[in-house]
């Protein structure tokens, strides 16, 4: 890997961590656990389109671990990892099959990120009833995904050829 790419990806990790942290400081607007905008997904989506799954995967993985170690707990690491992993897999698949634009991909990413966290919560609490939180999480995942998708599109356009 050349120095330029190494630097760019390191910046991406730092940016994703900052976005994740800033977001965690916003007071929750609904009392449903797991509802968030997912701003750091902008970085993941951008990298998926600009570089590829290896780079996006690495940055995402490192960000999840560092963010949880620095600002969260082992529990938050588990939820974060499950959500990010499922979301990543789904987004990668959708990009490969080329059905949706970046917005559709982000929407799916947002929904499956929340779904992954719910599955993790069901396992941690040993109760499948936690899935009753899915409806608000699907809806918030869609809305967040639209926002992230639009922002990722803008970022990709502005940074075209520069990164």
């Amino acid at each position: 890997m050349n120095v330029k790419k190494l630097t760019s990806l390191s910046l991406a990790v730092a940016l994703a961590m900052i976005l994740s942290f800033v977001e965690s400081q916003i007071p929750p607007f609904v009392a449903v656990p797991g509802v968030k905008i997912g701003l750091s997904n902008i970085v993941t989506v951008f990298l998926l389109y600009t570089y590829g799954w290896r780079e996006a995967g690495c940055v995402s993985f490192i960000r999840v671990i560092l963010s949880s170690l620095l600002f969260g707990s082992f529990a938050s690491l588990m939820y974060s990892f499950c959500g990010a992993a499922l979301s990543f897999a789904v987004m990668l698949f959708l990009i490969k099959v080329r059905i949706f634009s970046v917005i559709g991909v982000s929407v799916a990413g947002g929904v499956f990120h929340n779904a992954g966290q719910i599955v993790c919560a069901c396992i941690v609490m040993e109760n499948a009833g936690i899935s009753s939180y899915l409806p608000p999480l699907i809806i918030s995942g869609v809305v967040a995904g639209i926002a992230v998708g639009i922002l990722s599109g803008i970022v990709s356009q502005k940074l075209k050829g520069k990164i």
Binding site: A31, P33, F100, V124, G129, I130, S132, Y133, L134, I138
Partner: protein, 117 residues
């Protein structure tokens, strides 16, 4: 690009419909609750009847459960997000309040002891 946006809108509509539909199904299946089940980390700790008012400290004091007027809610908790305090009052079968950081959950059970989500 335009064709993809149409498919995006389709996806969004399908997902939103799914979410709303699932929500309506879950909510319509609810009945009057009889008691509240408290689990910590998945293990049943105790049950309280909704018909008796009371204040209970759960999980060694991390969460404060109040039952009053046939409804249960969390009044206080030491978790960092405090979402459990804002999850409102529950009284119908299958409704639940979850405190993920403390792994505490209170869940309403109906008269027959069996509930569908």
């Amino acid at each position: 690009m335009n064709k993809k946006i149409i498919k995006d809108l389709l996806l969004i509509t399908v997902l939103l419909s799914l979410g709303i539909f699932a929500f309506l199904i879950i909510e319509s299946g609810r009945e009057e609750g009889a008691c509240v089940k408290v689990t910590v980390g998945g293990e049943l700790v105790c049950e309280y009847s909704l018909s008796e008012d009371g204040e209970y400290l759960l999980n060694g004091g991390t969460n404060l459960l109040i039952i009053s007027d046939g409804k249960a809610f969390i009044k206080d908790a030491d978790c960092p997000d405090g979402l459990c305090i804002n999850q409102g009052k529950i009284s119908l079968s299958g409704e639940r309040i979850v405190c993920l950081p403390n792994r505490v959950m209170i869940e309403v059970i109906g008269d027959d002891g069996i509930f569908i989500n």
